[in-house]
């Protein structure tokens, strides 16, 4: 079986050591979630498919600045409409908070990265890519 060509786009650097070699990784440290979503949308337009829901682990949108998107790379295949639909929904959800000006407590950011890492680990287990 050909190994799945997968990629991750994330602004959470704490997940780095979790990632199996099968993944190509794009880190956008310091970027807001919407930049991660936009980068993922670009990949989807080039043929990638979503492997996991981008909002997983953000139980409520805007409660954490961290976002990790798991994609299956498949260049050259037709556009995957369900993936595009989900990513556009996520962008629309994010846009609601663009002007909300939520400020995160700096001291909490390591914990939010920790939760992001925990949920990324759960997703990787489900995907069974090691």
């Amino acid at each position: 079986m050909t190994p799945m060509k997968a990629s991750i786009i994330s602004n959470n650097v704490d997940i780095e050591d979790l990632l199996p070699s099968a993944f190509s990784v794009t880190f956008l440290p310091g970027a807001p979630a919407r930049e991660v979503l936009r980068a993922a949308r670009d990949r989807i337009h080039l043929g990638a498919k979503l492997l996991a829901h981008p909002m997983a682990g953000r139980l409520r949108p805007n409660e954490t600045p961290y976002m990790t998107v798991f994609l299956k790379e498949a260049d050259g295949v037709p556009l995957d409409l369900p993936s595009l639909e989900i990513i556009e929904y996520c962008l629309a959800e994010d846009a609601k908070y663009a002007n909300a000006g939520k400020k995160y407590d700096e001291a909490m950011l390591p914990d939010l990265r920790f939760i992001g890492r925990e949920l990324a680990e759960s997703t990787l287990k489900e995907l069974d890519i090691r």
Binding site: H53, M55, L59, R60, Y97, D105, M108, I115, L119, T123
Partner: protein, 427 residues
């Protein structure tokens, strides 16, 4: 299968010794409770407090809320403490109705919401009308966040079961008897009425985003048929899930409002024939597998209609929508319950996913709407944690002590089984 719930009304809690129930007052013995909880060597310290309805008290951050329940000839929360677990939903269960065990204390920064015992926040949720026996836990330094979550979860369940045993001596109770047949008996019970199945979504994503069925992490199960009676007996408990407004605490599982309503109208408006538990997971593969298995079980139960409740918002909304879509495509009329995130002004599109087949939606309100909460005389927990909870931020605490929070920062503020005081009602 037959379950008798013996409900003992509790309207007050006091500390004293010996522990007992006198009239509608629960007298809890702090030393005895402390000894019980410190049996777990991972706990460094524990203290207790009381919060009563109407008082100027705020509890924050709340992890779980549990109704004390115990069985004279078995255990509630089966599968949690013993290997030789019994099936829940049979026999007698004593319930201390009107009081709860509430756990508080930080696990990681992503904290839980608040319960106000009076004021505007108290108008939203059912928790503010209950008497809280609050347990504040401090873990040993070596305990990591995973184990910490487990420690808090088990301590809450243990105490809830322990104090409910005081009810065994009480003779003044209200009895509710529930019966549940096999699939064939249920199917044939009311041949002239439409058959309805409840699809019970539960959070299953990872640390502080999990539920436990008979002690098993719901991330590692596939959709499963359950009886409502085992839910009453605590077969399903919360893994201290975050997202206060839309989380299903153990109390909300034990008192699932959808199940209660389905029973109320069973045999009158429809025939309630079953529950399918559907874990809400992160990968699309799991979502599609769970959709297939959930829909197939609903079909096998012979449903004409289905009700789906959810937990959380965002990622779980996709599960809610795709299961609804597939049920409708199979001719099963489906109603879903969700809250909305329509922005602070209520002007934004309110759902992060939708399908045209979702044509019957019950909303529990816009969780982004903000409330200004008055200062309370007493805070159990850490007020500053409001800056870290869902619905709060670093600007939440006002110079005069008031709090500005979004509704989803209030525990159960828009409970997704509809167990809330805010909603649209027909008058």
């Amino acid at each position: 299968m037959e379950l008798e719930l013996r409900k003992i009304a509790i309207r007050n809690i006091e500390f004293g010794t010996p522990a007992r129930i006198e009239g509608d007052t629960l007298i809890a013995d702090p030393d005895e409770m402390r000894e019980l909880i410190l049996e777990d060597s991972r706990i460094k310290n524990v203290s207790f407090d009381i919060a009563l309805p109407g008082s100027s008290t705020r509890i924050l951050p709340v992890k779980d809320v549990i109704e004390p329940r115990a069985k004279p000839d078995g255990e509630t929360f089966p599968g949690t403490f013993h290997e030789d677990m019994q099936e829940g939903g049979e026999g007698i269960t004593y319930c201390l109705e009107g009081c709860v065990v509430t756990t508080t204390g930080p696990i990681v920064g992503f904290q839980e919401g608040l319960i106000d015992m009076s004021g505007p926040a108290a108008e939203y949720n059912v928790y503010s009308k209950l008497c809280h026996l609050v347990m504040i836990l401090e873990k040993q330094d070596y305990v990591d966040p995973h184990e910490h979550e487990e420690v808090v979860r088990l301590a809450g369940l243990k105490l809830a079961q322990n104090i409910a045993e005081l009810g065994f001596l009480v003779e003044d109770f209200k009895s509710e008897v529930y019966r549940w047949g096999n699939i064939g008996e249920n199917y044939n019970a009311y041949p002239d009425l439409p058959r309805v199945v409840y699809v019970y979504n539960c959070m299953s994503q990872g640390l502080l985003h999990d539920s436990y069925l008979y002690g098993r992490d719901s991330k590692i199960i596939v959709p499963t048929m359950l009886t409502p009676l085992e839910i009453f007996d605590g077969a399903l408990v919360s893994g201290n899930c975050v997202s206060p407004g839309s989380k299903t605490t153990t109390y909300m599982h034990q008192n699932n409002a959808c199940i209660k309503e389905l029973f109320k109208r069973h045999g009158k408006d429809f025939n309630f024939v079953g529950i399918v538990l559907c874990p809400l997971m992160t990968t699309l593969k799991e979502k599609f597998r769970n959709r297939m298995l959930t829909v197939r079980q609903v079909k096998m139960l012979g449903a004409d209609g289905a009700l789906i409740s959810q937990e959380g918002f965002g990622n779980p909304t996709t599960d809610l929508m795709i299961v609804c879509q597939e049920l409708e495509r199979n001719g099963i009329k489906t109603v879903i319950i969700t809250n909305e995130d329509a922005g602070i002004d209520g002007m934004s599109e309110s759902l992060p996913d939708s399908v045209p087949e979702a044509n019957a939606i019950v909303t529990t309100g816009n969780s982004n709407a903000t409330l200004m909460l008055p200062a309370m005389e007493k805070t159990i927990g850490v007020l500053k944690d409001i800056e870290r909870v869902c619905g709060g931020n670093v600007n939440s605490i006002q110079p005069d002590g008031r709090l500005l929070v979004e509704i989803h920062g209030i525990m159960g503020g828009h409970n997704l089984q509809g167990n809330t005081y805010v909603g649209a009602v027909t008058i």
